[in-house]
């Protein structure tokens, strides 16, 4: 698998970027695209999906995506992603309070899927009553599912089908999990430019860390833990497509010059052993010292932030 290959989930749903209206997806076109790329496995997965009049059945696709997100949640649980995220959000929110950002401080998960991170934070985050937790995604089916799950557990958070950068009340802190590798080439720089233009004060983008062994380890993990062909395919490809810390930093510094950027948690303790995930941290210059102080004993996990 090559990093140029798109993931199946990138191609089986399509939305108008302005209106966010769902667009029909031609099954034959997606199958042909994967075949042209030499990705027969992905072509087979798409060819087996239910279709109506040549277009992928939106309802079946949504059910599949929800199933896949449930499976992916297991990965986040096994890697204790909620706790790792909280390590960064607590100091980030602390420094915003110190700088007098009025309540509510809006923490937004960009591309939240079924909202695991936001729901975990609502249940275990203890971020404070002045913090509003919002999950945003383009896909209304995933947003509805996130809302349904949050309602079952009576969690204090909300989910919106929206472009995060067009929200009437923009987020103060933006974060993503396993999302940034979906932006290829210049669109990654554009993604960070949107941060720069928005009212965001900080961002934390966690993604797989590319290492020589990561694709093999990811393949093994996905074969064991994932049950749907789509999750297995996209999970392994995600690792192949993941950006190095330097690539992320270069794109972020180009796109969002209004932020100071660095990577967090790349190595396990002070050893050369890489963590599975690393986090790109961006913070407005005036918040830098307060943020680093608030990290406390975890400060050594934060790379050079400039």
């Amino acid at each position: 698998m090559s990093s140029d290959n798109p993931e199946i989930s990138d191609l089986i749903v399509d939305f108008d970027p302005e209106s966010l209206a769902r667009l029909p997806v031609s099954q034959a076109a997606v199958v042909e695209r994967f075949q042209r790329l030499g990705n027969r496995r992905a072509a087979r997965v798409v060819a087996n999906m239910p279709a109506k009049d040549g277009f992928l059945d939106a309802q079946a696709v949504d059910r599949l995506l929800i199933r896949v997100h449930w499976e992916m949640q297991r990965l986040a649980e096994e890697f204790h992603h909620g706790r790792r995220l909280r390590e960064l959000l607590l100091p980030g929110i602390h420094v915003l309070r110190m700088r007098g950002i009025g309540a509510p401080i809006r923490v937004v998960d960009v591309g939240c899927g079924t909202g695991y991170a936001i729901r975990w934070l609502a249940m275990h985050g203890a971020l404070g009553d002045d913090v509003e937790l919002i999950g945003a995604d383009y896909n209304p089916a995933l947003v509805h599912e996130a809302e349904r799950l949050a309602a079952i557990e009576r969690l204090r958070c909300r989910f919106v089908t929206a472009n995060v950068f067009r929200l009437r009340q923009p987020g103060h802190v933006l974060f993503t999990t396993g999302v940034v590798h979906h932006f290829r080439g210049e669109s990654l720089v554009d993604f960070f430019s949107e941060h720069n233009r928005s009212g965001a004060q900080a961002f934390f983008h966690s993604d797989f860390q590319p290492t020589p062994l990561a694709p093999l380890a990811s393949w093994f993990f996905h074969v064991l833990r994932m049950r749907t062909a789509l999750a297995r395919h996209d999970g392994v490809l995600s690792v192949v497509r993941a950006y190095s810390a330097q690539q992320l930093l270069d794109a972020a510094r180009r796109g969002a010059p209004g932020f100071l950027c660095g990577t967090y948690g790349s190595r396990i303790w002070n050893t050369p052993m890489p963590r599975v995930f690393h986090t790109l941290v961006g913070i407005r210059p005036e918040l830098r010292e307060g943020f680093l102080d608030a990290l406390g004993w975890r400060r050594h996990r934060m790379g050079d932030i400039r």
Partner: protein, 178 residues
């Protein structure tokens, strides 16, 4: 003694099968009740499997013309099975001990480096344990019982997996696109 240990291991294996079948099939955040139910279901199914084996064992003993020889053969086989299953179980239980440490890195590492490979090895270990137990066995009844145990070990996992898959499908929203 070895029969009691095998019973404990069968119950533990059933409980873990229940957990594995349930994992990744609920998107709730607080899954304590969900996993408790899954563990109990797995352990409960293991009791049914053990009871079935016990009934067959009693039946075989009742109709055996050389009861003492069969008992000795079964004891020797169960000791050999323990030599394979014991270390596997010890590694799994030690990994659970590591998970008690308050470090997300340690906990994640047990998932990646211990529980993942142990899950992959389970079918192989199940097979190896029974083969090692029954190959040197003198009595045909011991061999038949071993094959039955192996079938039940795989059967329990398959049944639990199927049941969990059906429950997951039922709990998915019927029409997510609305």
């Amino acid at each position: 003694m070895s029969l009691v240990l095998l019973y404990v291991l069968a119950t533990l294996d059933g409980a873990f099968c229940g957990y594995r079948a349930a994992a990744g099939r609920s998107a709730l955040i607080d899954k304590r009740r969900y996993y408790r139910r899954a563990l109990l279901r797995g352990a409960g199914l293991a009791q049914i499997a053990v009871a079935l084996v016990a009934v067959i064992l009693v039946f075989l003993l009742a109709f055996s013309s050389a009861k003492p020889d069969l008992i000795d053969d079964l004891r020797a086989s169960s000791r050999r099975a323990l030599l394979v299953y014991g270390p596997y179980a010890v590694v799994a239980l030690l990994a659970f001990g590591v998970r008690l440490l308050p470090s997300v890195d340690f906990r994640s590492a047990t998932s990646v480096f211990v529980f993942g490979p142990l899950t992959a090895l389970r079918p192989l270990v199940a097979f190896a344990g029974v083969v090692y137990a029954i190959l040197p066995a003198a009595e045909v009844q011991t061999r038949l019982l071993g094959i039955m145990v192996l079938t039940l070990m795989f059967g329990v996992q398959l049944w639990l997996d199927r049941k969990a898959a059906l429950e997951r499908e039922a709990s998915l929203p019927a029409n997510p696109s609305i």
